[in-house]
């Protein structure tokens, strides 16, 4: 064992010494790897430190918001006593009990909300008490105390915090995987550029016995030694950035050493994977093909014909053909460099999305009024309650539940609006993913926050008008304009049996084929854009809603929006007020969504700032690729330029070759940057708007967003890198050349 360790230590000492020596003595060659690995380590360390602090911050918010583990609502006197007395023969399982009383005027009796703090020093103990004692034994006893009154209870995040941590870990893992993949992508690109330019050297190594293991070892230890050298500066930058981000939000900062070591380990894994693939591929090449690539010939794609390159426009035409000869190299370079500026734009888009999610107003309380008659004074009373800023009652029915659908004339279909085609002639299309809703003044206020065309209050004045969304599943399906007509189907009967296993479009097709419907025509009063449309909402007047649903109008829920600046204590007081108010109407159940708390927690997590920071770092990767690749490329073309000069090209011609090359790459990078930036952003937009809601069931929607400043920065970065990465090698070429000439002159003089 000791011998093994000794050998390992000797091996490490030898290989690391060699690797360090090689890297340091050729530092110019490895400069871009220093920068790339430092960026990767900074991203990993920042994410790890920030997400570690998120856990702590979330715990702080939870303890601020909740001082109880479980709340039992609307218990009767007997049920309350069952809690107060505890389990017969068991010691008390809770630390503290807080009880609030509400008088139900309809039933002329008091009901109690009970808030319990369980005994236990940590999560495990508290959950053990909850699961084994409370849920299995105590809860049954409380139910038995008054079987007529169902027991409604909720556990708080104080007890479920471990699940929250799991979600945090999941987000962290996802971020690390995405960052890891991008990092591997970056290092592989850089490594391939390096390999491409040093194929000859690898070919010689392989000619004299180097196998994959040898090639991999050499490359890995070199990258490892770079990683060691950049680790401290990168982590220092990450710690400072994380501290600043948290300090801005007045959140205490903590940074245990293990978080930084963990980030270092991720960096190491990325290096390992990044070096492995290019070296594996390299080791499978025949050495002779690598040796043959000593010059730039491996980058040249044969034009298969000769051009008249020495015409009157020598440098311009010559360099245009050069761009064509090196088209594969140019295309690869453009794609790999510009993709990072596009990712910068996408990163800002994601940051914007997280900001929208956090800022999106959500009801703090949902009052279930499905069992009571809605009265207008309810709304007035709620508005009069301190801390409530907005109230909205809703009544909604899904079209599928009513066997209903919307019939659309073919000419109103948007391109690629994929709906069911019901008739042979193709005159109509039908859509079934609809939700019929009522509209009132509060709904109009809510809808006016979206972009819209037309008069949102039209259905309030005329039952023949509706307000519709522009899409289904967040995808634009129709080409309607305000004033156009839609037809809503009212189901009458089936003329044949329907396959019970069908769903979605297949079911709708069958319903349309075998159903008899009455179609009611409505005029579009307004079209709302950017509203979430997992099911496309159609807003009717109360009377029209009764017509299309075939039922008497009953409102389901009153959504109560609280002032987002309320403190946790004030929201708890407001909840108690609402429960008391609900009792005045016979016991309206109040569901606390804790949206203010959740928004605060999400805000504390600063995902938008992290995404912005990561996006900025991604932007800095682009110049690395540009300069590393172009420096090596032009270095290898110096022989070609020297030959040109030997056959009569002037120094100014050579300079112009570089300038034309730079302009050419600048123009191409401008085009690529715009095209790729737009395409990637659009794909991301489709992903978060269509795929995520479809597969997660989240009714969210975001606008398409390409911030002008992000595009401007990307374009400036790409164009200037494209030009300068070609022009700067000219200066070093001339410097080297002047030295050579000087030496030659000196030799001649002697």
């Amino acid at each position: 064992m000791a011998e093994l360790l000794e050998n390992a230590a000797a091996y490490l000492k030898k290989t690391l010494r060699l690797a360090f020596k090689n890297v340091i003595s050729n530092i110019g060659q490895y400069a871009c790897f220093f920068a790339a690995i430092a960026i990767i380590q900074t991203i990993f360390a920042t994410l790890t430190v920030i997400l570690y602090n998120n856990d702590r911050t979330e715990w702080q918010r939870v303890t601020e918001e909740f001082d109880y583990h479980i709340a039992l609502y609307s218990l009767t006197e007997d049920q309350k006593l069952a809690i107060e007395n505890g389990l017969p023969g068991w010691s008390r399982t809770y630390e503290d009990v807080r009880i609030t009383e509400h008088y139900n005027a309809y039933k002329a009796r008091s009901y109690y909300d009970v808030y319990i703090v369980f005994k236990g020093n940590d999560f495990e103990e508290v959950n053990e008490v909850y699961k084994t004692v409370f849920r299995q034994r105590h809860l049954g006893m409380i139910k038995d105390a008054d079987p007529q009154n169902p027991v409604e209870y909720v556990t708080t995040p104080l007890m479920n915090f471990r699940e929250n941590l799991f979600v945090n870990r999941l987000i962290y893992a996802a971020s690390m995987v995405v960052t890891g993949v991008l990092s591997v992508f970056l290092l592989v690109i850089l490594y391939n550029i390096r390999i491409n330019h040093y194929k000859f050297v690898y070919g010689i190594y392989m000619s004299f016995g180097a196998d994959f293991k040898k090639l991999f070892e050499t490359s890995f230890w070199e990258m490892f030694s770079i990683g060691i050298m950049t680790f401290l500066p990168a982590t220092l930058v990450s710690v400072i950035i994380s501290w600043v981000l948290l300090a801005v939000h007045k959140i205490p900062f903590s940074c245990p050493v293990w978080t930084l070591l963990l980030a270092g380990l991720y960096g190491l894994i990325v290096i390992l994977v990044s070096v492995m693939f290019p070296m594996r591929i390299m080791s499978m090449r025949a050495p002779m093909t690598l040796i043959a690539a000593e010059d730039n010939s491996n980058l040249v794609v044969s034009p298969r014909r000769s051009f008249r390159i020495f015409g009157s426009k020598f440098p311009l035409r010559y360099e245009m053909f050069s761009a064509w000869r090196f088209r594969r190299y140019n295309l690869r370079l453009l794609l790999s460099a510009v993709i990072f500026t596009s990712l910068f734009i996408c990163g800002l888009y994601v940051a914007e999305i997280t900001r929208v999610i956090v800022a999106k107003p959500a009801p703090e309380y949902e009052l279930d009024i499905s069992k009571v008659e809605y009265q207008d004074r309810m709304r007035d009373e709620l508005y009069d309650t301190e801390g409530i800023v907005h109230v909205g009652k809703t009544a909604s029915r899904d079209a599928v539940d009513l066997k209903s659908h919307m019939r659309v004339r073919a000419e109103y279909m948007a391109p690629f609006g994929n709906l069911v085609i019901p008739d042979e002639e193709g005159e109509y299309r039908v859509a079934g993913d609809l939700q019929y809703r009522t509209i009132d003044e509060d709904t109009v206020t809510e809808l006016s926050k979206y972009k819209y065309d037309g008069d949102l209050s039209a259905p309030l004045h005329d039952d023949g008008y509706v307000v519709i969304a522009d899409s289904i599943g967040n995808e634009r399906k129709f080409d309607y304009k305000v004033g156009d007509k839609i037809e809503i189907a009212e189901f009458v009967k089936y003329t044949g049996s329907i396959d019970g296993l069908l769903s979605g479009k297949a079911l709708l097709r069958e319903q349309v084929e075998k159903g008899v419907f009455n179609y009611r025509e409505y005029t579009i009063g307004a079209i709302v854009y950017d509203i979430p449309t997992l099911l496309m909402p159609i807003y009717f007047s109360d009377a029209a809603f009764e017509d299309v649903t075939g039922n008497e109008l009953r409102f389901d829920t009153i959504n109560v929006y609280a002032d987002p600046t309320l403190s946790p204590k004030e929201t708890a007081e407001l909840e108690e007020t609402l429960r008391g108010w609900g009792m005045l109407y016979g016991g309206i159940p109040v569901k606390n969504t804790h949206s203010i708390y959740l928004a605060r927690v999400n805000e504390d997590k600063q995902y938008d700032e992290i995404f912005t920071f990561v996006a900025l770092l991604l932007l800095f990767i682009s110049p690395l690729i540009w300069f590393f690749s172009q420096m090596l490329y032009y270095y290898k073309r110096e022989g070609e330029f020297t030959i040109l000069q030997s056959v009569g090209a002037l120094e100014s011609d050579i300079k112009r070759l570089y300038i034309f090359g730079g302009i050419f790459m600048g123009v191409l990078s401008f085009i690529f940057c715009i095209l790729l930036g737009y395409s990637l952003s659009f794909l991301l937009y489709k992903f978060v708007n269509v795929f995520v809601p479809h597969f997660s069931g989240l009714d969210l929607r975001f606008s398409f967003y390409m911030p002008w400043y992000a595009i401007l920065v990307s374009v400036i970065m790409s164009v200037s890198c494209g030009f300068l990465s070609a022009f700067l090698p000219y200066r070093s070429f001339m410097r080297r050349r002047s030295k050579t000439l000087f030496v030659e002159y000196a030799e001649v003089s002697e």
């Binding site: 190594y205 180097a210 994959f212 025949a286 040796i291 298969r304």
Partner: protein, 244 residues
């Protein structure tokens, strides 16, 4: 059959190597067969573009063949994986390229020692060979110079030292004197033959130069990818040896 193959240090069977140039397939080596015994000096001659360098690269495992078998010391190198082939090449073969192919950023000494590094030779295990090669090849005072600071002949001698540092059983040389003047060419050839005699090495050389080829035990001729034994030369040589 395996025994028959293992009596030769190099034995090829119907080796075919083709290149695709656009829509056209060029056969660089067409069913080439050769059997070379240990310690032999074999020269391959032929016009430019006849496929002799390609054949040599295939024999050394520097290029993959499209069909056929190549046995080196009885082992079929066409069946080896990339890594096995690399290791095998490092341990058994040396290669001198037409253009010296020295790595420009390494000194002469570093270039010579590359094969020892690739084959994980222990420090010091090659010192004696190095000393002997440096003396024989007369490059002692140029060891710490970059290739760009050496003359053509010196560069080629460094390349020979690099090919020989691991004492390979078989040395492939692709026109090693092609870029040298007569004096340098003779000197390099003398060195190769001298080293071969010292360590009992097999030498397979591609050359244009009949003067050089005439010093070989056997000469093969490559024409349009087809390899044949040069009977005239062989007969002439027999005549010289046997006194006909």
């Amino acid at each position: 059959m395996a025994d028959a193959k293992s009596q030769y240090i190099l034995h090829t069977e119907s080796v075919i190597k083709q290149y695709k140039q656009y829509d056209e397939v060029v056969t660089a080596v067409d069913r080439a067969d050769i059997k070379i015994e240990e310690g032999e000096f074999v020269a391959i001659i032929g016009p430019s573009g006849s496929g002799k360098s390609t054949f040599l690269s295939c024999c050394a495992g520097l290029e993959r063949v499209d069909a056929g078998h190549i046995y080196v010391r009885g082992q079929d190198i066409t069946k080896m994986s990339f890594d096995e082939l690399s290791r095998f090449r490092g341990q058994n073969m040396g290669f001198v390229f037409q253009r010296h192919n020295l790595i420009p950023q390494f000194t002469a000494l570093e270039n010579i020692l590359i094969p020892t590094l690739m084959c994980n030779r222990k420090d010091g295990s090659y010192d004696e060979t190095l000393r002997r090669l440096v003396n024989t090849l007369n490059i002692k005072d140029r060891l710490h110079h970059l290739p760009s600071e050496l003359s053509g002949g010196q560069q080629q001698r460094v390349a020979i030292a690099r090919a020989l540092i691991n004492m390979p059983q078989i040395l492939f040389a692709d026109e090693p004197t092609g870029n040298l003047d007569r004096a340098n060419a003779d000197e390099v050839l003398d060195l190769l033959i001298k080293t071969r005699e010292e360590i009992g090495q097999t030498l397979v050389m591609v050359t244009h130069d009949m003067n050089i080829a005439s010093r070989a035990d056997r000469i093969f001729r490559m024409d349009n990818g087809i390899l044949t034994l040069d009977r005239d030369y062989l007969d002439g040589k027999r005549k010289t040896i046997t006194g006909y």
